[in-house]
Symmetry: C2
């Protein structure tokens, strides 16, 4: 007997038929003798509709009222799933964020969970009652409703699993798991059986869009194994039909590269010939940080003349106009030429096996060179190699790397 948290995303509860399907999957786990708690998203499309309402009333709306409005979608699915379970003879009740309670800080619209007081849920779990918790929401210590930001139900699920000391958190979605890359670009992409938290973090934050980044961080910190799997695939009898995201220690075969990711909404800024003196980087990035602009890759070459150097960094394309304004209005960069470029993409190869293998980057460089793709920036970490290329080469580069690292299905 295990203790499980099962989370169903928007497409998995998008209508009555899908809710019945989710209830059937939950019932199956209960009948196997597991203790189960459930976390649900709003029906697909509902949250967007509510956000539209808020924007229509006021583009500069109060984030507290926004939260009160958009959190309501999850309340509906939580109640409906509890009903569907009861119909199957399973004791169940719904829990809204304030009822659990899920205590959050007051960063409305993107709140962080500070504590889940799951004592009552755990007590009832032992009496075979299935808690159906509305995801994405919580309450502040002052009783206001908060939401956790896009994909926040994943974080609710992992946080609840941690609070309940669950054996696993199963994230049901509309894909079968985590793939070696985007199957729309590479049809031969392979579903991964296991992947480490660290790899998943890189995958999630780079556009794999399967799990919210924060939920992976939380899973890693609390050591909760997370399985990503499809709610629309019949069970095969395999223990883990999806992809298990878990600690490195639980992964026997450490692949050198496990996935190729890409991100197209990138922009690049180059500061040409800035003075090569200490404190220059702080002068550039301090004002950007103050303006809440996240910078991703940063590259600075050695100075050729001992006096000046070029510095390049990447950021989200949507932040580019604001970043240019901040840089140009700052007095410290007077006279410095600032070049910017949109339409660049970041392609990354990710794998924990890199730690113990030399020369992994060379495969990337060679594969891209063979296709005639120019690498604009290179950045490498312990488990990742990223390159910036012109956006028009995105698909070509992804396919080239996927093949070069031998990730196709057998």
């Amino acid at each position: 007997m295990a203790r499980l948290v099962m989370k169903f995303g928007g497409t998995s509860v998008s209508g009555i038929k899908e809710i019945e399907n989710a209830a059937a999957k939950i019932a199956q786990e209960v009948k196997r003798g597991h203790e189960v708690a459930v976390v649900v998203s709003a029906m697909a499309g509902e949250t967007n509709k509510l956000i539209e309402y808020c924007r229509a009333v006021s583009p500069l709306h109060d984030a507290r009222e926004y939260d009160a409005v958009v959190a309501s979608g999850e309340n509906v699915t939580a109640g409906l799933v509890a009903m569907a379970l009861q119909k199957r003879g399973i004791q169940s009740r719904s829990w809204q964020g304030w009822q659990v309670p899920v205590i959050c800080n007051d960063a409305h619209g993107k709140a962080r969970i500070e504590e889940i007081r799951a004592g009552e849920i755990e007590k009832r779990m032992k009496e075979k009652e299935v808690a159906v918790v509305a995801g994405f929401q919580g309450m502040t210590p002052r009783d206001r409703i908060t939401t956790l930001g896009r994909g926040g139900s994943d974080t609710t699920a992992v946080a609840l699993a941690a609070a309940l000391r669950a054996d696993r958190c199963d994230i049901y979605t509309d894909v079968e798991g985590v793939f070696t890359t985007d199957p729309h670009i590479v049809p031969q992409a392979r579903k991964l059986g296991r992947i480490s938290y660290e790899e998943m973090l890189e995958m999630a934050s780079m556009g794999a869009k399967v799990l919210q980044t924060r939920s992976v961080e939380m899973a890693m910190k609390s050591r909760v194994p997370v399985q990503v799997l499809s709610s629309f695939v019949e069970e095969t009898g395999s223990d883990f039909p999806g992809t298990l995201v878990t600690g490195e220690e639980d992964i026997m075969e450490k692949e050198i590269v496990n996935g190729i990711t890409y991100s197209e909404d990138e922009a690049k800024v180059t500061l040409v010939k800035i003075p090569d003196i200490p404190g220059m980087a702080a002068k550039v990035f301090g004002p950007l940080a103050a303006a809440n602009i996240n910078v991703d890759m940063i590259v600075q070459n050695i100075s050729q003349d001992g006096k000046s150097t070029d510095m390049t960094f990447t950021l989200a394309a949507s932040d580019l106009p604001r970043a240019m304004e901040v840089l140009k209005s700052g007095s410290d960069l007077k006279g410095v030429e600032i070049r910017s470029q949109e339409n660049v993409a970041k392609i990354s190869a990710i794998g924990i096996g890199m730690r113990s293998h030399a020369g992994v980057a060379q495969t990337t460089f060679k594969a891209l060179a063979e296709k005639g793709i120019n690498i604009q920036i290179i950045s490498a970490s312990e488990i990742k190699i990223s390159v910036i290329v012109a956006a028009e080469y995105t698909e070509l580069a992804v396919r080239a790397l996927h093949a070069a690292y031998g990730l196709e299905k057998e």
Copy 2:
């Protein structure tokens, strides 16, 4: 300066345009210097959609989960109206039932408000903050969400007005007020300027559908004046553009008859020749009450042979099949002939002036006789005369009585 509770029904907040319109009306009262609290319904159609979901999942759903699902519609409008007020420079925040809190008993789906702890709202009201309260919902002492049944937001509004000791509760809806009868049947129907709680109770429970019956009972008990008015009519400068429902003592001209109401979903049951012995009525109505079937009018004639009598009563047509089952299965009525008839309607003339006038009923009898309408049952109370007629005569009877009591516009 007055203290007002303003309630907006589903059609008055059915979309962004209507919500802006409601916010403009609220802003107007605030700018006049009034202290204002607001109660809102769900957008028109939303609650029905949520009820449909519940029925689709399970016809025999858990009333607690039903409440958790259907209460969510009001949360959306409360947040949106608060945003729309903030946009107009008015301090405002939304309050869900559990946040106020609105304490209810645990009769889920049709709960009663036991207490509204409005201390925090009152404190903020004095600091010029407008509370926007989600109507129709509350919470039980054990933190479960409850709803108050159809039209429950009216009750929330009146209960909040009582808790805040408000000077008036304005119910904004899609009609201009309470009319002497249904204007669809009698185009000359006149909007009433004032009406007593007692009259409104009779009107509401007999199908006038303007205010929830319970809200009128509560207003009468707590002596809160209630105004029914349209949110879609420009203000004329009149103090009370709608209909003011208030205590008899505040009504100068007590009309003999103030309104003609009708109800078409009625059925009639006659027990032919039942023994004329003490305790017979208890044997008939006890089992019906036990089956939760409400009986309306009851008529029993004197016994002609000293041994048996006929007894007739009316009830909602939807309850007729169950009532027949209960009566036929009861051992006490063995051998009694039970006749039932659907397609009957109840027509009533209502007015507090009846108390001090004799012969009012005669006008009803004469008017119906002139049109050749047969009266099947008569029942009269202090401020009401009701008759049962064949349903096909409904409109004709309403028009005849409306004219006979001189209720047309001048």
